[in-house]
């Protein structure tokens, strides 16, 4: 039995919220703008809605299999071998996400602040930080996330408020595109895979049971998505569709515009620290999840022996893409089409089978439902 420690409500919220907003600091707002044009407000709202529905599916699954993680639940529902297969798919997904996270954040550091540093040095730094944090467990990562949350939220809110003099509200117009359903459909397919919806289903024991895990993840993902939506609209109002969609790191560029008088300018290094916190915390969490999933599949008493090998695997995968555009392209596939399999299709499939086969602790006793 794995010992995961205990995570409080605020700690859990901070952990999932921080992990959820990481895309904001990379190319996500620019990609959203490229696809949705000035209708980004509607396309991302729909993406956000689909993500919340995805979370509801996970919560329903957690509710039926109250004291088990998705890994154990899939074994209960599909049997030992198919359950292992599901677990391996989830592990592979998190390992790939971790690897792309390593690479994306390393590239972002190189582009913004460390242009002369070899990427391997930055990758090793992120990987080392992740392995140290994951070694101490999710309880420690969540506590650090709770402390960092204030600085991260302050950082984001400050950037958004201080760039207000640069915005042009008219950039939100025209409000629509010619084929809105097609654009919304494409955006939902490309951006609504949010791996954070799986987090409560994987560490529900640490969060104090499925009820707390559901509540925490609901608010964290709702707030995280809303922050991304607001920030993306602000970026649109600052750069316009044409200017904004060509940026590699739009939020970083927004922070570079901050200037109040002669003294309050060149503030982006301050904000970079908050973004670094987000990157380090998310990589620590995902490394932890990757190893914990494997430990649960193979019924290992401890996940720590796997940390080294998983980190090395992530490092190797991270360094494989020859350039940043290839990384973005591959990440797009992982986030988009392929990502739907572990994040949406598998939980939905498990839920349907569980209902059909009348499995789970609440099966046949609706009076016990909360």
């Amino acid at each position: 039995m794995l010992k995961e420690g205990k995570i409080g409500i605020y700690e859990g919220f901070a952990l999932i919220f921080i992990s959820n907003i990481s895309g904001l600091f990379l190319s996500l707002p620019a990609s959203l703008m490229e696809d949705g044009k000035s209708m980004i407000w509607l396309t991302f709202s729909m993406v956000h809605l689909v993500t919340m529905l995805n979370l509801v599916i996970i919560i329903l699954l957690m509710k039926r299999h109250a004291d088990t993680t998705i890994i154990e639940a899939s074994e209960q529902i599909l049997g030992r071998y198919l359950g292992i297969l599901i677990g391996l798919i989830l592990a592979a997904y998190f390992i790939m996400r971790e690897a792309f996270l390593f690479r994306s954040y390393s590239e972002a550091f190189l582009l913004s602040t460390l242009p002369r540093t070899p990427i391997s040095i930055v990758l090793i730094t992120i990987a080392t930080a992740a392995i140290v944090s994951a070694h101490y467990g999710v309880e420690i990562i969540a506590r650090v996330a709770r402390i960092c949350l204030t600085f991260i939220v302050l950082g984001i809110v400050s950037v958004l408020l201080l760039t207000m003099p640069n915005i042009s509200p008219n950039y939100i117009f025209p409000l629509f595109v010619e084929d809105p359903l097609k654009i919304i459909g494409n955006s939902v397919l490309n951006y609504s895979v949010t791996s954070e919806v799986l987090v409560p289903g994987l560490i529900l024991h640490a969060m104090g049971g499925w009820r707390f895990a559901a509540k925490i993840s609901f608010w964290a993902i709702l707030c995280g998505g809303s922050i991304i939506l607001i920030a993306s609209i602000m970026i649109l109002l600052t750069f316009g569709v044409q200017g904004g969609s060509e940026l590699t790191l739009p939020f970083y560029e927004t922070s570079k515009l901050i200037a109040f008088g002669r003294f309050l300018q060149r503030m982006e290094p301050v904000f970079l620290l908050t973004w670094a916190m987000v990157g380090f915390l998310k990589s620590a969490l995902y490394l932890y999840l990757s190893t914990v999933i494997l430990s649960r599949i193979f019924k290992l008493p401890d996940y720590r022996p796997l940390l080294w090998i998983i980190t090395l695997l992530c490092f190797v995968i991270a360094i494989l893409p020859p350039d940043y555009p290839s990384t973005l392209e591959l990440e797009g596939i992982m986030l988009g089409t392929v990502g739907f399999i572990p994040v949406l299709i598998i939980p939905l499939f498990l839920l349907i089978i569980s209902i059909i086969r009348n499995l789970g602790v609440n099966a046949g006793s609706p009076r016990n439902d909360p």
Binding site: S38, R116, T117, L257, A259, R262
Partner: protein
């Protein structure tokens, strides 16, 4: 692995992270960097581009034996020719001891000649680089940027950097020069339909120019033509460079710049002088600010657009030479009406000029029209230039001289 083994491993890993705290392998010490204050771009004689930089000289600020900075110049101006901006950047590092950096560059100055050929390729090159700040100023220089930067010797400031900052601040008090950043210029350029503008700069020849002022309300000068003598620098910041897409196509003088800023809603405060409506030999001076953003109403009929703009101004009397008591509620209306009428005529003339010279919309009316367009595709294919050229545009001024200054009335001198 036991508990001790884990602790030792964690310690080793944490120690591995420590070297990163000293700034990674890409760190640069301040004494390794040459901070470029301003960059100028001209057409080269033998290469496509000539780049001039003004670099802060740390020797002049270093404490010497006497406690001062010695006799070294505060800044150094150098130039080099090359095929591209970043090739020139590279070449600068072959004859200086320090790595040049654009992190603190406050102004990018383009020569007229280069601007006429198109700015797009240079802007892309600048904005792609992490050192370049989008809130740096973009200036268009009459003549060459090299000559401007060499002749620009601000006597009241320690460096041109401070001068550019001061001129940007002063532009908000004179409104004879727009304050345009790289971000603003590029955003307008990319907004699909407006014509971008930039500040115009130039140097005077040292000779006092003849005054061209036909009416006191006009400031008919562009940079290099101000009838001044003994100013604190050879550089002048007045007028606007007008672009069609990314190419320089025209200039606005001081009056026109002020009108454009008023119509754009970017006007802050300035001083206006007009003929006394009752005693035309005398003048009245007013300090006026834009009371609120202009109201712009755009109505489409089948054939053309009807644009009606209302500009609101408020302020105070600075001078009434004739001694007429215009301060009262009824009599101040005479001045307000005269001012509104003259400004209206000047604005209409500027709109006509922008059409005659084929400049396109320099007043950003397209930003307002965006609200009437329902889809992005419609907006992308809109022929705004033609719509602007055929539109019926009327400009109305509503001025309220709220305060009389520190004299509430003017009494006549009692002569004995």
């Amino acid at each position: 692995m036991g508990k001790h083994g884990n602790k030792i491993l964690s310690m080793i890993l944490l120690l591995l992270l420590l070297p990163q705290l000293c700034g990674c392998t890409g760190g640069r010490e301040t004494d390794e960097v040459a901070l470029v204050l301003a960059v100028g771009f001209d057409k080269g004689e033998n290469s496509p581009l000539e780049m001039t930089v003004t670099i802060a000289n740390p020797q002049s600020f270093a404490a010497g034996e006497g406690g001062g900075g010695g006799k070294a110049e505060n800044y150094i101006t150098a130039n080099v020719e090359g095929p591209s901006i970043w090739e020139c950047y590279l070449l600068f590092n072959t004859f200086g001891t320090r790595d040049i950096s654009f992190v603190h560059t406050i102004a990018y100055i383009f020569s007229e000649e280069l601007a006429k050929e198109g700015m797009d390729k240079y802007l892309h090159a600048l904005l792609r680089q992490r050192e370049v700040r989008r809130n740096s100023q973009i200036l268009i220089c009459r003549g060459t940027a090299k000559e401007f930067m060499k002749n620009n010797k601000p006597q009241l400031e320690a460096s041109p950097n401070k001068q550019y900052q001061a001129m940007e601040r002063l532009a908000g008090l004179t409104e004879l020069s727009p304050s345009i950043t790289l971000h603003k210029f590029y955003s307008t350029l990319k907004s699909l339909h407006s014509s971008p503008v930039a500040s115009l700069v130039g140097t005077n020849t040292g000779e006092k120019k003849a005054s061209k002022q036909k009416s006191p309300l006009l400031v008919p000068y562009v940079a290099g033509e101000v009838p001044q003598e003994g100013g604190s620098a050879n550089a002048e910041f007045i007028g606007t460079a007008v672009f069609r897409d990314d190419q320089l196509v025209g200039e606005l003088d001081g009056t026109e710049t002020r009108l454009m800023l008023l119509m754009n809603g970017d006007f802050n405060i300035s001083t206006f002088t007009l003929r006394d409506p009752k005693k035309p030999k005398d003048v009245i001076a007013l300090r006026l600010r834009q009371a609120k953003k202009p109201d712009i109403k755009i109505v489409s009929d089948k054939e053309k657009l009807n644009i009606h703009q209302t500009i609101y101004m408020e302020g105070e009397f600075l001078s009434i030479q004739s001694g007429e008591n215009y301060e009262g509620t009824k009599r101040k209306k005479i001045v307000e009406q005269a001012f509104n009428q003259q400004m209206q005529q000047l604005s209409q003339a500027l709109i006509d000029k922008s059409r005659d010279h084929n400049w396109g919309d320099i007043f950003n009316y397209d930003l307002v029209y965006r609200k009437q367009v329902s889809t992005w595709e419609e907006w992308e294919t809109l022929n705004w230039k033609e719509m602007y050229d055929t539109a019926e545009i009327t400009v109305e001024y509503k001025t309220n001289i709220r305060r009389p200054g520190l004299m509430r009335t003017t009494n006549h001198i009692i002569r004995g």
